[in-house]
Symmetry: C2
Amino acid sequence: MKIAIDAMGGDNAPQSVVDGVLKARDEFKDVEFLLYGDQDQLKALVSNTERIEIIHTTEVIDMNDEPVRAIRRKKDSSLVQAAQAVKQGQADALFSCGNTGALLTAGLLIVGRVKGVSRPGLLSTLPILKAGIGDGTFNLLDSGANADSKPEHLYQYALLGKYYAENVRGLKNPRIGLLNNGTEPHKGSKLTLEAHQLIAADKSLNFVGNVESRDLLTGACDVLVADGFTGNAVLKSIEGTASATLHLLKDSIMEAGFAGKLGALMLKGVFSELKGKMDQSQYGGAVLLGAKAPVVKAHGDSDGLTVYYTLKQIKTMIDGQVVPKFTAYLEELKEDGKAISKD
Amino acid sequence: MKIAIDAMGGDNAPQSVVDGVLKARDEFKDVEFLLYGDQDQLKALVSNTERIEIIHTTEVIDMNDEPVRAIRRKKDSSLVQAAQAVKQGQADALFSCGNTGALLTAGLLIVGRVKGVSRPGLLSTLPILKAGIGDGTFNLLDSGANADSKPEHLYQYALLGKYYAENVRGLKNPRIGLLNNGTEPHKGSKLTLEAHQLIAADKSLNFVGNVESRDLLTGACDVLVADGFTGNAVLKSIEGTASATLHLLKDSIMEAGFAGKLGALMLKGVFSELKGKMDQSQYGGAVLLGAKAPVVKAHGDSDGLTVYYTLKQIKTMIDGQVVPKFTAYLEELKEDGKAISKD
């Protein structure tokens, strides 16, 4: 298999991207890496080119570029060229740590959507902080690809999330929840009330009903379906609260004098465990599900290790045949006269 | 001033409600308390009836009652009778720890809306975890009164939030932020893009633009405007993440053996400070803003101290004349030909 990599995207690119690629190359013997970017910079970083191909590009899309315009105009950018390789069948997946909007746009406009999926959604994997539930994570989608959604899109996310959780996270019959403002079936907005009906009607889904955001980190479901606007707000609330809580704890300890510092020293292991658990990078990047191939985004400030974990996740997606399996299920539905999209 | 109190609402009612009322009665000499509920139970708890009147009611709305039906059918419930007292001018505010939906419904259908406000919104006050910002809190509205919103409703929340922050929280020229999926003005859903224009156009507001939910606890704004569905999801995400993080910390310490327990002992002050800061009850209850009088909800599991804090908040709302000031501003707008509602 081949992974097309935007080597110039991200705060620490191309160094951290190459670091991650080298580690992945040494571990995954059946993967080839296509590195798109400035050849002088890349050649200086890659001494052993086994299963690594460097493809020279002359432009870079940065964090301030307006996504759609950047994709249309910067034709020789590392991102656009990597996406083109996937489109033309030269690579099986697309990876970037760069501008999220530009990657999503490249995914939609260049890699393209699976037929029948009207709106691909972004899936993010987050930790469950209570011990002993599933694989210790849940998968939230849409975490921000679409600001406005229809009920059928949410139903598609339920299906996409199921295939991802089964084939990448290794969960059997994953519990699908719908993000809502109450657990009772009669609660919700117009959007969630209709989406609830659609999801509940598909008996192939293990639908556990409405889920409130306060119950996510204690394991209310394995896949959380949400519209992209609310999903994005929930993702960022969780990140912000965890980070602010840990900072406050640190500040309070610094002010607590000698006893505080001694106490903190004794709890060093506990704090680093907590911090590790909250660190999402180990669970991989955000995936644009519903595209014709895996399109995966790691955080802009990713280091080599995060890049490596994300490449591992991409390999699992390809090995697990998430896209073909999902596409086959859509075909089955169509044959049964149950198309999931009006588009 | 008089406060009408649903003495039977909440997990620990009427005991905790009466505990809070007694403490508030002893401290606030200009407040009279109308206690609605079972007179036998209430009389047994109130030995000194100075500025406390007990009004006997025969029904109770519980947590499982469907709100609209309960308000229509249980005419002699403690909540409905307390709301009627506000409607008829016998009391200046309504308080309950009971069924949130029922209280909101009583606020809308019995107490009524201020003319010109199409959808009253629920305001919740949350902590800012970074030191030295404003009064250490921010105000989120709508935190869940309405599942579907229009741009003009969000603009109304900006105005309502401003008056509340100024007159109850004592903030001068509070910074108003709009919850969005990016900080750039061109980001957002159809709803937030339009709401952004409306809020930005009112020069009486100190609008700081779009705010992402990850920046709330570090003080991005004093008033966060959101639609009720997303606002509810953000509120519950913050609560859930803070709670799960503290639980995980506690569990890890328990497992860390002797050094862990000793460390925890040394950090006891730090942990209790953290827990105290995350405890929202000290900031008062959730307020239905846009109703003709303060309608305030405290958590179902409130103890006497929380009830006391919430009664203090209600007194501040009445003293600060939040509702009359807001109503006067709406009249001014109307005279200038700028009605804020199409209803």
